[in-house]
Symmetry: C2
Subunit: 348 residues, 2 copies
Amino acid sequence: MTDLTSPGAATAPTKRGRGEKSSATIYDIAKLAGVNPSTVSRALSKPGRVSAKTQKIIEDAAEQLNYQVNPFARALPTGRTQTIGLIVADITNPTFFDIIRGAETTGSARDYTLVLAESAESPETEVTAARRLLSTVDGLILASPRMDDDHIRALSADKPVVVINREIEGVPCVVPDVNKGISEAVRSLAANGHQKLAYVAGPAQSWMTGRRWEGVKAAAEWSKLSAARLESSKPTVDGGRQVAREVLESGATAVITYNDLLAIGLMQELQAGGMRVPDQISIVGFDDIFGADFTTPALTTVRSPLGECGTRAVTILLDVLQGHDAPEEAVSVETELVVRGSSGRLLT
Amino acid sequence: MTDLTSPGAATAPTKRGRGEKSSATIYDIAKLAGVNPSTVSRALSKPGRVSAKTQKIIEDAAEQLNYQVNPFARALPTGRTQTIGLIVADITNPTFFDIIRGAETTGSARDYTLVLAESAESPETEVTAARRLLSTVDGLILASPRMDDDHIRALSADKPVVVINREIEGVPCVVPDVNKGISEAVRSLAANGHQKLAYVAGPAQSWMTGRRWEGVKAAAEWSKLSAARLESSKPTVDGGRQVAREVLESGATAVITYNDLLAIGLMQELQAGGMRVPDQISIVGFDDIFGADFTTPALTTVRSPLGECGTRAVTILLDVLQGHDAPEEAVSVETELVVRGSSGRLLT
DNA sequence: CCATCCTTGTCAACCGGTTGCCAAAAATTG
DNA sequence: CAATTTTTGGCAACCGGTTGACAAGGATGG
């Protein structure tokens, strides 16, 4: 365990005259070990470039001085910062929590630090934030970016960029393959006697909302169900409540929503209006966010492995940084239906 | 809007021979403006040190070259990075989501970038992460830290540190004042005819769990209720389910839990066992996390303004960085009872 | 035993800013 | 108009590493 209490009082680095504790530099080590600073640099970062003997001496000295590289001094000539940036559209949206966590954990395991920024759903803010981050990180991950393809390609030309939840020609992407999960959902609904399906769409600028609708449409066709597309005002609990009336009017007995928040809001509003879920209407959400199982009944949902998306994105990014090639095709991660209580047999 | 497409082809900075786009330096600007690099540096960072005329010339040149400072080059001599670190105990714990968001938003507004790390509830990991971050950020925020006071003080001696959700002598802290919220909760329960109260505690190493218990005990005494303390295995939904039996056996008709997750798990388990909430038992959570209103009935809870904690912590940190003094006392933010459906009159 | 090659450490330049010190230029004052 | 003070810009050192070029030292081979 790192010992924080001993500032190495014996052979203090002593740089600033005052009592300030400043960390040791490679020059301090060099002096202590009796070699040239550049040798220290090599010993510490170029394995094999220095004889085992000197290596040992230098490492001991470094240890004794409690040396830590100054990341900025290193970054200046090399450009490498051991840092990756992550930009999410909305920090409050739980969809991103898992992505953040996956990215942080994976990065951390490979000694990279995560730098986080939010675009607040604004394409302009996103571009600005991306530009700002790009200069200080080794690579960038964009989760559900709102800016247009060209901007992303421009960033990508500068430094490695990986995109989550969207496919962009020429940029490595990690995208949940919605088809599997959706067909499971639709098949399950069909098996339970449903015939009229509704899809509640998300925001127009989200690439995913269209993708999911296509999946639903195709699966419904295959299972010989009818499918109607309804629009929501915003992809939140509130938005879900607001679309409830439309859902009822559509006559659908099963609803798949763009995301879980919509599903939860919709369910709350329908239940408040006296509808029984799932007896009278089945509701299936999307993503399996935190809290999806807090509802009564618990929400059936198509799980997107968001955490894995974060993990994969970081992995790809770090691989690219190490000189590997990025996957040509978008990397797809599997989705699956999680059956809970909000969907089931129709009991009219 | 930032124009990403024009790399300034006309007067390209031209540094690396190859087609690589490297951004312009102050030397490029100096040449273009016909002044010394140091003058450029001053014009760009020391307002007033340079005559208005030269200032203008330099700014124009910078604009034309699409100049951006190199943060590392600046950080090297100054130590300033325009960056703050945030360490949370558990990224998956929704309690921290709001803190993260508050911190990111506030920092961003004052042109600071947020660097995020997780300790995975381990004191050792936390110390390591803190050490690693500390060297690259201007200041550090520790949310519900798990390491001991001395380690925190050691960090604090190095660079400004602000702690959230814990009080430590000599370190600026932001702590929700639980008393107001708790007394509201207990008074409300007493008014609803409850007499036996139980408190479900959280993890022992959490400073907050004790604090909350004391609040509950004091408020119960004041309102002439009995209060029993029960232990949970872990502060999660699962932990809540596991403690349900004990709660029943305690004979309490009202429960206050260390956090919302426990409350939600507890409620699910009790309901699964046939108990009616709130008719037979009232449940009050803590924090008002995302999803607390997804349950049926929606959870009554003592809201901790976590987002505000993040905001306040960043504000204090940046103030300190600007030379202001840190508040002597721990800054306390108000908690309040949010009455929803899970608490109410006892109907036996 | 000397020529040759490989290993290993040193020198010095460089990354891109910041800043103390000084002198030239401008402004103020008598 | 000269003397003095205040601005303003330039010089050069420095932050703490990295790295190409090179030479000294050691091992190997003929």
